[in-house]
C-alpha cells in the first residue's frame, strides 16, 4: 500500500513546481492573461494570435507616434498608470474546454493577472470566462463568435468581435445593396460544414434572414473531412440559387471551387465566410479559378499611409505573413482591454470593469474595420462590423461598403477564364 501513499504525497510535491517558476511582478507591470489554442487542431491560428498580441504589446509599450491616433500607440506604456508596461502571461487551452477552465483559474490565482483575453474556440471561451466571472476578473473575447457567449448575464465578460448575427447582417445588407443595381439576390443557399462553427453561423444566417422576412432557399450541411462534394454541388446546380454562401474550412472550400470548375457551374454570387476562403493556401491552390469570390474580413491593410497598412507591415516584418482577420480581431480585443485599464488608471478589476462598460472608441482609434467599440448590457460590442472583400487577381480587395472600398465590385462570379 505504501506506494499509493507516496503517490498521494507526491501530489503537493508536484504542485510546488509551478510556484517555482512564478516570478515576482515588477510594480510598473500590468499582467494580462491570454488563453489560446497554442497546440492541437487550431494550433496554427493560436500561434498567429500569439504573434499578433506580442506585436500589439510592443506597440503599446514603446512609442509609435506614426501609428497615432490608434489607442495607446503614441506613448510608451499606459500613460495614466505612469507609463506602466503591459506583460502577457500565456496559457494553452489544448482545444479542451476543461483545460481552458484550469488555465483561467491558474492565471487568476497563481499569476495574479488583472484581466484576461481569449480563448479562440467558443467552447473554451465559455468555460474559461465562467471561471473569470466567479473570481471577478474582466474577460475580453476578441475572436470567439458563438452566439451563446453573450446573454449569460455575466458582469465581467466583454466581446469586441462581430459574431454570427453581425455576419448575417453584413451579408444581407450587402445583398440588399447589390439588389438595388437590378441583380437578383433573393434566392440564397447556405452551405455549411456540420460542426459548431458552420452550424452556429448558418443558424444565425437563417434567423437573421427570417427577421427581415427573407427565407433561406436552401441549406446544405456537409462533413468538412469528406473527399467529394459533387453531390452538394449538383444539388446547388439543380436549384440554381442567386447567391451561395459557404461557411467552410480550408480543404473543403478548395474542393468546392475545384468541383465548380469540373462541373462547369458558376453561381452568380459566391460568398465565403472567412475561415477557408481566407486561408493563404486557398488563394494559392484555387485562386485562378475562384476569381470574384466574395469574403468577409474586419481587417484590410488599405492604403500605404493608413494605420492598418503600417501594422500589417510590422506584422509581416516579424512573421513573413500578412496579418489575417482572426489575429487582427484578437489584437483589437487586447487594445480595447488595455485602453480600459489605462482609462481606469488602476489595475483593480472592478475599476477595469467599469472602464470597459464605459468604452466608446471611434473607428479612427481602431486597427480594424469596426464602426467603433461600445458594449451593450450583455457585453457585446454593438458596433462590431466587417467589410466585404473580393478576390481579384492574386489578393482580396475591399469592395463594400463603398466608403471603405478600394476596388470596384465585379459581378457575377467569374471563376475561371
Amino acid at each position: 500500500m505504501s506506494i499509493s501513499r507516496r503517490g498521494v504525497l507526491a501530489l503537493p510535491a508536484l504542485a510546488v513546481l509551478p510556484a517555482l517558476s512564478e516570478h515576482v511582478m515588477a510594480a510598473e507591470t500590468v499582467s494580462i492573461g491570454y488563453i489560446e489554442a497554442l497546440t492541437g487542431n487550431a494550433g496554427a491560428a493560436g500561434q498567429s494570435i500569439k504573434q499578433g498580441a506580442e506585436l500589439a504589446v510592443e506597440i503599446i509599450n514603446t512609442p509609435h507616434p506614426d501609428l497615432a491616433p490608434l489607442t495607446l500607440a503614441k506613448n510608451a506604456g499606459l500613460p495614466n498608470l505612469g507609463g506602466a508596461t503591459v506583460a502577457l502571461t500565456w496559457a494553452d487551452n489544448q482545444g479542451s474546454p476543461a483545460v481552458a477552465a484550469s488555465d483561467a483559474l491558474r492565471l487568476i490565482t497563481q499569476d495574479h493577472v488583472v484581466a484576461m483575453c481569449g480563448a479562440y474556440q467558443s467552447s473554451c471561451t465559455l468555460t474559461s470566462s465562467a471561471v473569470a466571472e466567479r473570481y471577478g476578473i474582466p474577460y475580453v473575447a476578441g475572436e470567439s463568435v458563438a452566439a451563446n457567449l453573450t446573454g449569460r448575464g455575466y458582469k465581467w465578460f466583454f466581446r469586441t468581435t462581430p459574431y454570427g448575427p453581425d455576419f448575417a447582417r453584413l451579408y444581407l445588407d450587402f445583398l440588399a445593396d447589390v439588389a438595388k443595381s437590378g441583380r437578383a439576390t433573393g434566392k440564397i443557399a447556405v452551405v455549411h460544414e456540420n460542426t459548431d462553427y458552420g452550424t452556429s453561423v448558418a443558424d444565425s444566417m437563417v434567423s437573421t434572414a427570417a427577421a427581415r422576412g427573407i427565407k433561406i432557399a436552401q441549406r446544405i450541411a456537409y462533413n468538412a473531412n469528406g473527399t467529394d462534394v459533387s453531390p452538394q454541388v449538383l444539388q446547388l446546380k439543380e436549384a440554381q440559387p442567386d447567391v451561395v454562401i459557404f461557411i467552410s474550412y480550408t480543404s473543403d472550400s478548395i474542393l468546392y471551387i475545384k468541383t465548380f470548375h469540373t462541373l462547369g457551374y458558376r453561381p452568380p454570387i459566391v460568398i465565403g465566410d472567412d475561415s477557408g476562403f481566407s486561408d493563404p493556401s486557398f488563394i494559392k491552390t484555387v485562386g485562378p479559378i475562384a476569381q470574384g469570390a466574395l469574403n468577409r474580413s474586419a481587417f484590410v491593410p488599405g492604403k500605404p499611409d493608413s494605420i492598418t497598412y503600417k501594422i500589417n507591415a510590422l506584422f509581416k516584418k516579424r512573421t513573413g505573413r500578412d496579418l489575417d482577420d482572426t489575429t487582427a480581431r484578437s489584437m483589437q480585443g487586447l487594445f480595447v482591454l488595455c485602453d480600459a485599464i489605462n482609462r481606469a488608471g488602476s489595475t483593480k478589476p472592478e475599476a477595469i470593469r467599469e472602464a470597459l462598460v464605459k468604452t466608446d472608441l471611434p473607428p479612427g482609434e481602431l486597427m480594424i474595420g469596426y464602426e467603433g467599440v461600445k458594449f451593450n448590457a450583455q457585453g457585446q460590442n454593438i458596433l462590431a462590423y466587417s467589410l466585404m472583400i473580393q478576390l481579384q487577381g492574386e489578393s482580396y480587395v475591399p469592395v463594400w461598403p463603398a466608403n471603405q472600398a478600394s476596388a470596384k465590385l465585379e459581378l457575377p462570379f467569374k471563376g475561371w477564364t
Binding site: M1, S2, D92, T109, T127, Y154
Partner: protein, 321 residues
C-alpha cells in the same frame, strides 16, 4: 490493531480526504478534484477492462451519456444538472444491453476495435442530433440559481462529492473482487475459452461487469458536466476520453483495486503541471514531457506501477518485523 492489509486502504482514504485541505491554493485544489474525477472513470473502466480483460476503447460513450443527460435536463427542463445523473445511469444500462452482447462475441483486439467504432459512431450521431445541441454542445447554468446547481468557485465541494463516489465504487469493486464474480472475471481475463470450459457463464458475467462499469463511467460524465458546465461532442464522446481512461488505468496497474487511482494521482497533476509550466510557450513541449514520462514508466514497469507494490510491501513488512 487493524491488520496491515486493512490499514493500507484506510490510510489511503484518510490521506485523500485531507489532502486538498492542506493547501489553500485554488489551483491545486482543482487539480485534486480532477484527480479524483479521473480516478472514478478509470476505476469504472477497470471493472471490465482490467478485471475481465476486455480492453474497451469505447467508454467515452458512457461518459458522454452521463454528461449529456445532466446538461440536457438542465437545458431542456431547467433542472439542476446533477438531477441528470440517475438518468445517465439508466441510459448507460440500456446502452450496455444493446452493445454488450454483440461486441462480447469479439475477442482481443477485435473487441477493442468494435468498441472504438461504436463510440466513434455515437459521436457522429450526437453531432447531428439537434435536440442535444448538435455540434455546438450544451452548457450548464451560467450562474448558480440555487445550491442544487452545485456551482462553486471553490473546488473543495466537488472534491468531497467525487471522493464519496470514488469510495463507493472502490468499496463495490473490493466486494466484487472477493466474490464469485471477481473470480469469474479474473478467469475470463486470464483465458476466456478456459473459463468457459470450466463452466463460467462468460457472456453473462461480462455483461454484468459492463453494466457496473458503464454506470459509474456515466456517473463520472455527469459529475464532469456539473463541474465544467459545458459539453460538446468532442469533450463528451471524443476518442481521447476513452484513451485517457485506458492510459490512467494501465499506468497504475489494470485489474488492481487502487491501480487506476494511482495512475490518476500521477497523470492528472502531470498533465496540469506540464501545461502550466510549458504550455504557454506554445511549442508543444508539454506533450513531449508528458509522453516521455509515460514512456519511461512503460519501459521500466510495463505492468503499471501496481507491479512494484509487492516489492515495496515486502520490504515494508520486513522492516516492521
Amino acid at each position: 490493531m487493524i491488520p496491515l492489509r486493512r490499514a493500507g486502504p484506510v490510510a489511503v482514504l484518510v490521506i485523500l480526504a485531507i489532502a486538498p485541505f492542506l493547501t489553500a491554493n485554488p489551483f491545486y485544489q482543482r487539480i485534486a478534484a480532477l484527480v479524483v474525477l479521473a480516478a472514478i472513470s478509470a476505476s469504472a473502466w477497470n471493472v471490465i477492462g482490467g478485471y475481465a480483460g476486455q480492453i474497451s476503447f469505447g467508454h467515452s460513450i458512457y461518459f458522454g451519456i452521463g454528461a449529456y443527460a445532466s446538461l440536457l435536463l438542465f437545458g431542456r427542463f431547467g433542472l439542476p444538472p446533477i438531477a441528470g445523473a440517475p438518468l445517465g445511469i439508466i441510459a448507460s444500462f440500456v446502452v450496455s444491453l444493446i452493445i454488450g452482447p454483440p461486441t462480447f462475441r469479439l475477442r482481443g483486439h477485435y473487441f477493442s476495435m468494435g468498441t472504438f467504432a461504436i463510440a466513434a459512431l455515437a459521436e457522429i450521431l450526437i453531432v447531428n442530433w439537434k435536440f442535444a445541441g448538435g455540434a455546438i454542445g450544451l452548457m450548464g447554468p451560467a450562474m448558480p440559481r440555487s445550491l442544487a446547481d452545485l456551482l462553486f468557485r471553490n473546488s473543495l465541494p466537488y472534491y468531497a462529492i467525487f471522493l464519496a463516489v470514488l469510495a463507493l465504487l472502490l468499496a463495490l469493486t473490493h466486494l466484487m473482487q472477493r466474490s464469485r464474480m471477481g473470480f469469474y472475471l479474473r478467469a475470463i481475463g486470464a483465458g476466456e475459452r478456459a473459463a468457459e470450459s470450466l463452466g463460467v457463464p462468460v457472456q453473462r458475467y461480462k455483461l454484468y461487469a459492463l453494466l457496473i462499469s458503464g454506470a459509474f463511467t456515466a456517473l463520472a460524465g455527469s459529475l464532469y458536466a456539473v463541474m465544467i458546465g459545458f459539453v460538446d461532442p468532442e469533450s463528451g464522446f471524443g476518442i481521447l476520453i476513452s484513451v485517457n481512461m485506458v492510459v490512467i488505468a494501465a499506468l497504475g496497474g489494470v485489474g488492481t483495486l487502487f491501480g487506476p487511482l494511482v495512475g490518476a494521482i500521477i497523470l492528472v497533476p502531470l498533465q496540469e503541471t506540464t501545461n502550466a509550466l510549458l504550455g504557454g510557450s506554445g511549442t508543444g513541449a508539454a506533450y513531449v514531457a508528458y509522453g516521455l514520462i509515460i514512456m519511461l514508466i512503460a519501459r521500466f514497469s510495463p505492468g503499471g506501477l501496481a507491479e512494484l507494490w509487492p516489492l515495496i510491501n515486502r520490504h515494508g513488512r520486513r522492516r516492521a518485523a
